[in-house]
């Protein structure tokens, strides 16, 4: 366990994990941007419930995208 602790606490591994997580977060953020654009297009195709439901979904997609972006920032700054 002590050895594992030493390996995990080593700077090289921390940096590798950090870069890996940041890259993952970036890919994930791109994915959320695609979701936002897709929801916008679909909302244009079918306007449901006089746009109330559609705008709700669009707002949620944007909030989700912002949350993922914050995660990316957290990985870069805090970790």
């Amino acid at each position: 366990m002590l050895e594992l602790n030493n390996i995990l606490n080593s700077n090289t591994l921390n940096l590798t994990i950090k870069i890996l997580l940041a890259a993952l977060a970036l890919v994930f953020f791109i994915f959320t941007v695609i979701i936002v654009s897709r929801v916008k297009i679909l909302n244009h195709s079918v306007q449901i419930y006089a746009n109330k439901a559609s705008s709700l979904l669009f707002t949620f997609a944007i909030l989700y995208s912002v949350a993922v972006f914050f995660l990316f920032i957290i990985i870069l700054v805090i970790v």
């Binding site: 366990m1 594992l4 602790n5 995990l8 606490n9 921390n14 994990i17 950090k18 997580l21 993952l24 977060a25 994930f28 994915f31 959320t32 695609i34 979701i35 897709r38 929801v39 297009i41 679909l42 244009h44 195709s45 079918v46 306007q47 449901i48 419930y49 006089a50 439901a53 979904l57 949620f60 997609a61 989700y64 949350a67 993922v68 995660l71 957290i74 990985i75 805090i78 970790v79």
Partner: protein, 235 residues
């Protein structure tokens, strides 16, 4: 002996007048779609009301519009997959919510040292996990929400959204529809009363299908009624 044939003559409805009435009924112009929709709305205040999770709606009120909809085109039937089809992602997602706390509990019970992983990285991994889970739930919901079938008095529109990068909107004129049928198979479809509606089109045009439609018999009836009305209108 009373003469039964003489007395009955007066009470029996006149054959000629009955025939003329039937003819007059036949000659009556068909009520336009708009009036019928208005009648439906007047009969029942909840008729045509759409909720967030509505999967089948006859004559939805004016709160649904689709791309390229004509100004006089009225939506007669709005279809989506039955909500029960969402259980295939709701149940795994619900279980997945509890996986990190369960792992933490397991590690605590087995007294495995968690301090080995830096706290910051652990937090990020957990955040990552839940954001991916939310993403999965959201995209699955969008898939259900935007997979729509619409029947108007002129055509049928099928909006397919199979994944985040694929969207397909197809429409077919009612005059090109040959037949409609539905299939209900399996225990799940029988319990929740949903099934696939297949709409056969003329010639080389691809067939239409509204998958996992709720109350498929009723929906097929409505579609069939619209088709008959459309054919009679053309004659």
């Amino acid at each position: 002996m009373p003469d039964i044939f003489v007395k009955k003559d007066k009470k029996e409805p006149d054959k000629e007048s009955a025939e003329s009435e039937a003819r007059a009924e036949h000659m009556k112009p068909e009520q336009p779609q708009q009036t019928q929709a208005a009648e439906h709305k007047a009969d029942d205040p909840d008729h045509g009301k759409m909720g967030f999770f509505t999967a089948l709606c006859e004559y939805p009120r004016d709160n649904i519009k689709f791309v390229n909809q004509g100004s006089e085109e009225e939506i007669i039937l709005f279809l989506r997959q039955h909500f029960a089809t969402n259980l295939s992602w709701i149940i795994p997602s619900f279980i997945a919510i509890f996986i990190p706390p369960l792992i933490w509990l397991l590690f605590a019970v087995l007294t495995i040292d968690f301090i080995a992983v830096p706290a910051g990285i652990l937090t990020v991994i957990i955040l990552f996990y839940y954001l991916i889970l939310i993403g999965y739930i959201f995209t699955s919901f969008l898939y259900w929400f935007f997979n729509i079938g619409i029947v108007t008095q002129k055509r049928m529109v099928d909006i397919d959204y199979s994944n985040i990068l694929h969207k397909n909107i197809a429409s077919v004129q009612l005059s090109e529809v040959v037949d409609t049928e539905f299939t209900q198979k399996g225990l799940f479809q029988s319990i929740f009363n949903y099934g696939d509606i297949l709409i056969q089109t003329e010639g080389i045009k691809p067939n239409f299908d509204f998958r996992a439609s709720p109350k498929p018999a009723h929906a097929t009836d409505i579609i069939h009624g619209v088709l008959v009305k459309n054919r009679n209108g053309r004659k």
